[in-house]
């Protein structure tokens, strides 16, 4: 199970919120949904490379802080212009009070 990376404590993210997580020279966005599930995507918006962790989580959408483009963070799908390119997503799991991410 060496490909699972410890990202943060479960209580480091409020429900319906996002935090930034940097690892191995890359940046990710880690989400906690309103129904208490964890998700992970690439950290930068596919439109103009802005950190999504500064954006707003509403239900299962992340809204980018720069031009209000939206993605479904569960699937990475681009949902509202000006974002057109989907985000890459990563598997997550909870181990005790830690959130782990499988970074491919």
């Amino acid at each position: 199970m060496t490909d699972w990376t410890d990202a943060c404590a479960t209580d480091a993210i409020d429900p319906e919120d996002v935090v930034r997580f940097d690892h191995g020279g890359r940046t990710f966005a880690l989400y906690r949904s309103p129904d208490d599930r964890w998700y992970c995507t690439d950290g930068l918006c596919t439109h103009e490379q802005v950190h999504l962790a500064d954006g707003l989580v509403m239900d299962h959408l992340i809204e980018c802080p720069k031009h209000n483009g939206q993605f479904d963070y569960r699937t990475g799908q681009a949902k509202r212009a000006p974002v057109c390119v989907n985000l890459r997503t990563y598997e997550t799991r909870v181990d005790g009070d830690r959130v782990l991410v499988r970074i491919g």
Partner: protein, 363 residues
């Protein structure tokens, strides 16, 4: 600086990319995440209320004006209807384009399309244009939405109070798009995948205008055009009046909205028509915050911003002398002083602006 070239395809555009001004990192006031989240939170209620008032008043004013037509007594009602059609549509286009006015997506989309039609801005093209305005605010050669260029195009700026240059540009773009083509400048910011949508909207609009003109001809009356189309001219003055204050006379080619944007305190009627976009520094710094929370955002960060203009009148007293000066000396601009509580401008990016460049009025 040499004469500015505002074309998105010209030498200034190229220079902005080479010097790192394009898509640069901009200054933001620090706000703890929890507070920011509260400010960004979405709700439908304020925009539903405001939209009901907006559309309700439009129906009422147009109804009375049609009823009184062709008496001169109809004029005040046309003027009121015109401002709601030709000016309030600008702010509704803007807020719903950001997707912040309503929480519910379809409500933003519906009002966005309606307002885009009224203001004659293709909703697809202008979404991309406005994204560029936020990425490269008042960067010469990059920002397609600079209303007050240097030197100021005085005649054009004045004619826009009656909507004339805008409507000529808007309708000719509409016809060009309806013919299946894009202007070369539009093509620099509209992705190829979006072009069919641009063309579809232009064709629908062309059909609506053609039907309105046909009705006017059939009834031998301009009444149909008084309701659809002409209010974009006779009601444009308010959005132009408040819109020029957003950036006119301030610095260009900087990466700090405190230097190139202006917050103006305004009367409640103008704020309703303008949907609080008078808090313009705040909006540019944090475009995620809905219009109805901008007064709160202003209160939260005002310690870090230049003092707002206390009224439209005060703002114009500041702007007009600079614009007149720019007619002869286009490098003139107004430097915004920060209060002692503010984080200073980043000298590494804004050395000339911070120190006051030659020919710059330092008031």
């Amino acid at each position: 600086m040499a004469r500015r070239d505002y074309s998105l395809l010209g030498p200034d555009a190229q220079r902005a990319v080479e010097t790192g001004l394009a898509a640069a990192e901009w200054y933001h006031t620090d706000i703890p995440r929890a507070e920011m989240k509260a400010l960004m939170a979405r709700t439908d209620a304020p925009a539903i209320r405001d939209t009901a008032i907006w559309l309700g008043l439009m129906v009422a004013f147009a109804g009375i004006a049609i009823w009184l037509w062709p008496s001169w007594w109809s004029v005040p009602f046309w003027l009121a209807y015109g401002v709601l059609y030709g000016s309030a549509s600008d702010s509704r286009w803007h807020e719903c384009g950001h997707g912040t006015a309503f929480r519910t997506a379809w409500m933003n989309t519906a009002v966005y399309h309606l307002a885009s039609f009224m203001i004659v801005r293709n909703p697809v093209t202008w979404r991309w244009s406005h994204a560029r305005h936020h990425t490269d605010t008042i960067i010469v050669g990059r920002d397609p939405e600079i209303a007050a260029m240097r030197p100021p195009a005085a005649a054009r700026m004045l004619l826009n109070f009656a909507g004339i240059p805008d409507i000529i540009a808007g309708l000719s773009r509409m016809l060009l798009n309806a013919a299946g083509r894009l202007d070369p400048e539009e093509a620099t910011f509209v992705p190829v995948s979006e072009v069919p949508k641009v063309i579809l909207v232009a064709r629908i609009w062309t059909a609506i205008y053609a039907a309105t003109i046909a009705l006017a001809l059939a009834t031998q009356s301009i009444l149909p055009l008084m309701v659809i189309g002409l209010p974009r001219l006779y009601g444009a003055w308010h959005f132009v009046l408040v819109g020029y204050l957003q950036h006119a006379g301030l610095a260009d080619n900087v990466t700090d909205h405190r230097l190139n944007s202006r917050t103006v305190l305004m009367n409640p009627v103008s704020r309703f028509i303008y949907w609080n976009m008078n808090y313009h520094v705040e909006h540019h710094m944090f475009p995620m915050v809905p219009y109805h929370r901008l007064p709160d955002l202003h209160a939260r960060i005002r310690h870090d911003l230049p003092a707002p203009a206390p009224s439209m009148w005060a703002a114009y007293r500041e702007v007009l002398p600079v614009l007149l000066r720019q007619l002869r000396h286009e490098d003139a601009f107004l430097r915004r002083d920060l209060p002692p509580t503010a984080r200073p401008y980043r000298a590494e990016f804004h050395a000339d602006v911070s120190a006051g460049a030659p020919g710059v009025p330092a008031e």
